[in-house]
């Protein structure tokens, strides 16, 4: 089965120091925000990429959507090579692939009404017909907003409402893939469920694949079929969601899971406290990049980068001494 989205060994790097500074201080010229990521997403599947700040997950999402250039590797979407496409050529691709951004209100153009925001994809792709108005109304209805919301401006919307408008905009042209960057960020717990339920419903109804970028493991469990965990621009563990929650292997995955305990004062929490902070991308640790914080790091971890262990069925991790979860 050919995957809808196939990412192979993608690298995204940014300029860090100029040549003079690099010469004098030894800092690297470029930093790699994404350092060799490969994954596949199938049609109508929900895939979650989990990571904290500095993991490169948002950069990866933007690279897939063509908003930042890829420095190496390939991205194939619906059989078509995306890397190296010009912005104009990406235009056609963007009919099939849309993105929901992190800031619910900030991702909506402040001076446009909701109607104008939802009409934009139609105008851009020259699909605005006479039934534009009814199509906008239908979109609003699909995301649970009444027709009068079309008149409002972004600053007149609550976080949850703005988020829904973002979702509506993402599905206007019935794409095959929706990339949702932190869809629950900035939303209250009582409202997060609304967005996630909506995404699930739309997937069932329209058959869209969803790539969710998030740091919230609790959310992932309820929406994703498969997931990958990123650290310093690389995937450290991936596989079916339930399997990872039941039996995580990589120490970082275990730490993340223990950082989100069940809210129960009597629960005995086997908290794994990681030492230190995420290393700077300018000074990537040698060997296994997680060894500086890993509670179980041994000699080998400091010098030798672990190979990818493939257990089959999409279950992979990179660790010399994986835990028995």
């Amino acid at each position: 089965m050919t995957a809808l989205l196939r990412i192979e060994d993608v690298h995204v790097s940014f300029a860090a120091a100029g040549w003079l500074k690099a010469l004098t201080s030894g800092s690297p010229r470029r930093i790699e925000a994404v350092a060799g990521v490969s994954l596949d997403i199938a049609t109508a599947e929900t895939f979650a990429v989990v990571g904290e700040s500095g993991s490169g997950k948002t950069t990866l999402a933007r690279a897939i959507n063509g908003l930042v250039p890829v420095s190496a590797g390939s991205i194939a979407f619906d059989g078509r090579q995306l890397t190296g496409l010009s912005e104009a050529a990406m235009g056609a691709v963007r009919r099939q692939m849309s993105m929901i951004f992190q800031d619910p209100v900030g991702s909506l153009s402040p001076r446009l009404t909701v109607r104008a925001i939802l009409a934009e994809p139609f105008h851009v792709h020259k699909m605005a017909g006479r039934d534009l108005e009814s199509r906008i109304e239908r979109l609003l209805g699909l995301v649970g907003l009444t027709a009068d919301f079309a008149e409002r401006y972004p600053h007149q919307l609550s976080g949850g409402q703005a988020r829904r408008v973002g979702v509506a905009r993402a599905i206007t042209l019935e794409p095959k893939l929706v990339i949702a960057d932190e869809p629950t960020a900035g939303l209250d717990v009582s409202v997060q469920g609304e967005v996630l339920n909506l995404l699930n419903e739309l997937q069932a109804r329209l058959g869209i694949a969803i790539l969710i970028i998030t740091h919230n493991l609790n959310v992932v469990r309820h929406v994703a079929d498969r997931m990958a965990i990123m650290y310093l621009g690389r995937i450290v563990e991936e596989g079916p969601t339930e399997t990872i929650f039941a039996a995580p292997r990589h120490p970082y995955t275990l730490a993340l899971l223990s950082a989100n305990p069940e809210p129960d004062p009597d629960a005995v929490i086997d908290r794994i406290e990681l030492q230190g902070e995420v290393p700077s991308l300018l000074q990537r640790p040698a060997g296994c990049e997680f060894h500086t914080r890993c509670p179980w790091a041994a000699g080998r971890c400091r010098s030798e980068a672990p190979a990818v262990a493939d257990l089959g069925g999409g279950r992979r991790f990179t660790c010399h001494f994986p835990r028995q979860g």
Partner: protein, 296 residues
């Protein structure tokens, strides 16, 4: 995300026109009311110059020279017997015309160059900055002298000088604003929808930078009026007998021993217009500049 209670948008929306709301916010401030009143006086005078004054501003009547202000001639007459009030009113037309046309061209030019510099590739930005900085480093008077030598003294020359003097600062502001919005999430959203650069600039970036820019422009109008008056004063602007406040002031200066009224007639409208636009501009900025967020 804001969770201050005072920031949450209420469920029931009040639909008031932003324009009317803005009007009341300006008028609420005493400085704003005064500024608006003075500006309206100037505009009114310019629009109805022919109706308001009985006299032809350029018709000579040498026997009535240097008459003091009185019932017949509200501001007296100048050295050639022309009614000063009438000349002042017609001068208002020129002042406003320059203000309007020159700042519009400056604004348009500033927008185009600024957005190109801000959103385009870095080499274009460097090139434009070089050009704009070069332009900005010319003192206005020198610029005026140089241009007038090339194109001759005229209203057109005045407009050109004003445009070249103001364009760089508008372009810089536009460039800075564009650069800050370039990576804003709503711009990235528009790109991810497939919007081409032109659409992004016009529909997304422009409406969000025009506000502070208009305030800047309104605060520049007094400067523009002064440039026009100054150039005419120096003989580099409009040619006689066209009445410009600056040239009236110039003549008044020359003949101050014979009668103070030409000088007063030239200076007074400049003061009134400058004060009016300054007050109005400052009030607009205090009320509407998003950087000066205040509690109601």
């Amino acid at each position: 995300m804001s969770d201050r209670i005072s920031d949450i948008a209420p469920a029931a929306q009040q639909r008031r026109s932003a324009l009317i709301d803005g009007f009341w916010r300006v008028v609420r401030q005493p400085m704003g009311s005064l500024g608006l009143a003075l500006v309206l006086v100037v505009i009114f005078g310019a629009l109805f110059a022919d109706v308001l004054s009985a006299y032809n501003p350029i018709k000579l009547a040498v026997r009535e020279r240097f008459l003091p202000a009185g019932f017949e001639h509200l501001l007296g007459t100048d050295q050639l017997g022309r009614d000063l009030f009438s000349r002042v009113l017609h001068g208002a037309r020129i002042a406003l015309w320059v203000a309007l046309v020159a700042t519009s061209i400056g604004l348009a030019g500033g927008l185009v160059l600024g957005m190109a510099a801000g959103y385009g590739p870095r080499w274009l930005d460097s090139l434009l900055i070089l050009f704009l900085d070069a332009l900005r480093s010319f003192p206005t008077v020198m610029l005026a002298l140089a241009l007038v030598t090339l194109v001759g003294a005229s209203l057109g020359a005045v407009v050109l000088v004003v445009v070249l003097a103001t364009l760089p600062s508008y372009a810089r502001v536009v460039r800075a604003q564009t650069m800050s919005l370039k990576d804003a999430e709503f711009v990235l959203s528009a790109r991810s929808v497939g919007a081409p650069v032109s659409r992004i600039l016009i529909k997304h970036i422009l409406p969000n930078i025009i506000g502070p820019l208009l305030i800047l422009v309104s605060m520049d109008i007094p400067v523009v009026i002064t440039i026009e008056a100054g150039m005419s004063f120096l003989g580099l602007g409009v040619r006689p007998p066209t009445p410009s406040w600056g040239s009236i002031l110039n003549d008044g200066f020359a003949f101050i021993r014979e009668s103070p009224w030409p000088a007063i007639a030239g200076g007074l409208p400049i003061i009134v217009a400058t004060l009016g636009f300054t007050f109005l501009g400052e009030t607009l900025r205090d009320e509407f500049d998003p950087k000066l967020r205040r509690e109601p």
